[in-house]
Each structure stands twice: as structure tokens, then as C-alpha cells.
Symmetry: C2
Subunit: 303 residues, 2 copies
């Protein structure tokens, strides 16, 4: 079984911590604090994105890019870009008109720390900056690769991706969705951006079509495993472990796979998806071990 | 004087109406309504952008593109993209946490017609779609041109452009800004996107550097004239003419050039800037007459 062949967890933890350092150095450089009146905007952007997250999406970009020997700094820029996009979605998700969440990773959410208007604008500007960083020449010498990154991010983030999924999620509150509908919702809302992160590494590496498809299939299954396991955590973890309000989705009557399958079968489905994700990596041999370890981690993490 | 050489106003009105039809056909095609649950999101996006606006920014793209014989459909796509970006900024600006405006062009603003959460997401997705359209192959055969469009839009729209300007604007409420500070604020908040629209036409046309600079200078002065004249209108026009709450900026204690210069001198400064804008077009001869007419229109319009 693919999941047995992963390296010891320490190797993954170490690699993720190293990636996080690299990506945070990039984020720091990409969001310089100006001397002018809009300093509060940049401070809110930095607060939202430089928050000690796990950097799972950036790690995915960088580990996939490594398979294709991509320059580390270029990969870290794209990793920083996807973390900005992810941070923007969290800032807007937490707003009073949306999930109305006061806590994010154990800290006041952006609109609590600053104010609502600043949080709206900071999210807006983080999205813009994410696209800008992809388009900048430092990201890749080849304009074709940069335009592919922009297109892939837009597809993953927009109305037929993440934001479309958020909309369905809101509309579904209190309704009984089928398992298939929840799967589609989650694939859009969370899965597409995780899949993009894997794809971005392959785009950076100008991977041949077959390898790019294998990486995208890995990303798709990993994203699905991630979201189902998130629902499991939402039911089982404490608020302290989660760094956010636990049990909230269930309380809001949101559609989750745990409600449909029950806790045990949801957990087991997440594990199956993680194994399936690993199976797509066979052609990469042991160079993909950390990506396999990441799949394992995704369905065993505590938060 | 350049402003004397414009064609009769009918020619401008006709050309703007024709552009609006083309751009709205593009917008309609670029935002198809799906069969699925996120239909409400797309409906809100369409409501926000297909609202019978003047399409000044799209007109700028298309008229500049015409100077360089750009394919009309490609130019209309970029025009549609800048209108989406503009619409997103208006939707978020109108939110209760921002300007809290119930009316937009005489109709309920997006969060009044739908709800706040939908308006936030619709704005988010309009921004994403604006970038996506620029990156799509149909926009320009040359990936270099597409990446330049993405970069220029990101610069104009982000933390050092439109959103940065909105932040300064919010921060300035009740404060006494100097004329120089207001000029910078307005250049960021409104001017940069108008300048981008002109620049985008030149990028589409792969204009030589000297012509591109002339177009950008025209766009910069036109944007400045536009914003100062907007302040004049905010003081003088009726709510009915404006299609939004009039006198609102002044009531909110916002910094405007009218407060600094008084009505007459503000109007005259807008006119001077419009003439200055036209002066940058000399090398294009009478092919730029509609762009000159647009500058004239900018400082004589009623709304």
C-alpha cells in the first residue's frame, strides 16, 4: 500500500517547516510596508497571510516543482501567491455577512483585529497581488508558463471554482444535499485550490502532459481527502486544537460528509482518497515520498 | 485649442453606444448562467456589471486599440474585463461596511438586490474573471501581450492602485488633506484604472514605446479630470441625475478638490486637465478625435 512507503513523519515536518520559512520570507518581501497612508491596508494583508499557517498549499507547489527541478525561489513565489489567494478567501469567509467568525488560527480574525472595511479591502488586494506575483517576470522566464499559472489560478479561484463552491455552501445551509452534491461542493470550495497548487508546480516545471495529468489527479484526490477530513476534525477536535470555533459547520446546518456517512465511514473515505492520491505518484518513484507523506498527514493531522 | 477640434458630440455618443453594445454582448457571453446551485452568484455578477453604465473604460480600451488596428472582438474582451473589474470595486464600495450605499445608477445596489454575502462573493468573482479573461488565448495570440495586460491591471487595481486609494479615502474621512494628498488619493482610486484602460488598448496594439507613453499620459490626465469633475458633480447634480446619493462625499467629510479649490476653480482645473490630456494625442492626428471628444465629454457630462 502506498501509504506504507512514506518516510518517517519527521522528514515531512522538517520539509514543511523549511518550506514555510522560505514562503514566509517571500511573502514578507512581496508585501513591503509603505511609508504612506495606505499602510493600514498592507498591515491587514500581512496580518492575514503571515499568520503561522501550515502552508500546505505552498508546500504542494514546492514539492511538485522539486520533481521537475524548478528553481526554489521561483517556486516559493508561486507558493506565496497561492497562500495570498487562500488568505483572501479566509478573510472574506470570516466576515460577519459570511461565516461571522471571530477567530482564525487562535487569533482575532482580520475584521476583528482591524475593521470590516479594511478586511474587505485587504482580501481584495490579496487576490490582486496573488495574480500580480504570478505575472511578474521573476516567477518564470517564459511568459507562456506565467499565463498558464494565471489561467489555472483564475479557474480554481473564481465562479466555477472556490467562490462558486462558497456560494453553493451558503445556499445549502439547512438543506439536505446528497453525497454527490456535497462532493461537488467540496471539490469546488476547497479541492480546486489544492489541486491548483499541485498543478502550479507542474506548470512551473513545464511537465509533459502525462506527468501533469498524474499530478493533477494526485491534487484532486488529496483535496477531496483534505476536505472530508476537515469535516471529521470539525466534529471531533476541540476549539483549542483547531484554532477556530469547532463544531460550527454542523451547528450551522451545513452539508458535510460526516452528516451523510457518519464519523467512521467519513474518516475511512478520507483515508481511501489519500491512498488513491498516492497511487497517482507511482511513476515518480521515491522522489515523491514527501508528497505521499503529505497525503498521509492530511488524514491524520490534529488541526 | 485641442478641445475645439473635437467632432460633433453626436459622433461620440454614437460611438460610445456602439461600444457599449459590443462590450455588453461580450459580458453576456463571458458570464453564462449555469444550471447549477451557484446560479445566484452568476446572477449577482451579471446584475452588477450588466447595468447600463456608460462603459467609459471599455470605450477607452476600444478607441485606443482602434488607433493600432486591433481586432474589435479582442478589444471588446479587454473592455469587458475592465468593466468587470470596475463593477467589482463598485459592489464592494457600496457594502454597508464601506460607503453603505443603497443605490447604484438608480437601481438597488448589489447587496440590496441580493444580500451582503452574495455581493461580497460576486465582487470577488468579478475580479477573478477580469484576470481570467485577459489570460485567455482569445484575448491576444501573443502570450507576452496577455501577461502585460494582467500585470498592468494588477498594478492599477491592487494595493498600490485602486484599492490602495480606497483605503486612503476611508482613512481620510474627517481629516484635512492637502491638495497634493487628494491628488495622489484620486490618482490611485479612480485615475489608475482609467489610465489602465487606455494603456490596455496600447498593449493590445503592441504600440511602440513613445506612443504607449503618450497614451498613458493621456489616460493619466483624463483620469484626473474625470475624478475632479466627479467631485464637482457630487456637489451640483441631483440624486436623479447621478443615479446615486448626491452630496454624499461632502457629507461624509471626505476629501475632495471642491472643498480645497471651491466649485469654480475645481471645474476649471478639470477642464485644464482634459485639454492637457488631448495635447498628448497630437501625434495621432484626427484618428484620435473621438478620444479628444471623450476628454471634453468627461468634463461636461451631467452624471
Amino acid at each position: 500500500m502506498a501509504l506504507d512507503t512514506v518516510r518517517k513523519p519527521d522528514a515531512l515536518a522538517e520539509a514543511m517547516a523549511e518550506t514555510a520559512r522560505l514562503v514566509e520570507a517571500q511573502l514578507d518581501a512581496l508585501l513591503p510596508v509603505p511609508e504612506t497612508a495606505e499602510v493600514r491596508l498592507i498591515e491587514a494583508m500581512r496580518y492575514a497571510v503571515l499568520n503561522g499557517g501550515k502552508r500546505l498549499r505552498a508546500f504542494l507547489v514546492m514539492e511538485v516543482a522539486k520533481l521537475f527541478s524548478v528553481n526554489r525561489t521561483c517556486a516559493a513565489r508561486v507558493g506565496a501567491s497561492v497562500e495570498m489567494l487562500h488568505a483572501y478567501s479566509l478573510v472574506h469567509d470570516d466576515l460577519p455577512a459570511m461565516d461571522d467568525d471571530d477567530l482564525r488560527r487562535g487569533q482575532p480574525s482580520c475584521h476583528k483585529k482591524f475593521d470590516e472595511a479594511t478586511a474587505i479591502l485587504a482580501g481584495d488586494a490579496l487576490q490582486t497581488r496573488a495574480f500580480e506575483v504570478l505575472a511578474e517576470e521573476d516567477t518564470h522566464a517564459d511568459s507562456e508558463a506565467r499565463i498558464e499559472l494565471v489561467l489555472a489560478l483564475a479557474l480554481a479561484a473564481g465562479m466555477r471554482g472556490m467562490v462558486g463552491g462558497q456560494m453553493i455552501d451558503m445556499e445549502s445551509e439547512g438543506k439536505d444535499l446528497t453525497g454527490a452534491e456535497i462532493t461537488r461542493l467540496q471539490a469546488l470550495k476547497t479541492g480546486r485550490l489544492i489541486q491548483y497548487a499541485a498543478e502550479a508546480g507542474a506548470i512551473l516545471g513545464r511537465a509533459p502532459a502525462a506527468q501533469r495529468h498524474a499530478i493533477m489527479a494526485y491534487g484532486r484526490d488529496l483535496g477531496a481527502a483534505f476536505q472530508i477530513y476537515d469535516d471529521v476534525l470539525d466534529e471531533t477536535a476541540s476549539a483549542e486544537e483547531m484554532g477556530k470555533t469547532a463544531g460550527k459547520d454542523a451547528a450551522a446546518g451545513k452539508a458535510t460528509m460526516v452528516r451523510i456517512l457518519g464519523l467512521d465511514r467519513a474518516r475511512s473515505q478520507a483515508e481511501t482518497l489519500a491512498e488513491q492520491a498516492c497511487a497517482h505518484l507511482d511513476s515518480f518513484g521515491e522522489r515523491a515520498d514527501l508528497l505521499r507523506a503529505l497525503a498521509r498527514f492530511t488524514v491524520t493531522r490534529k488541526s
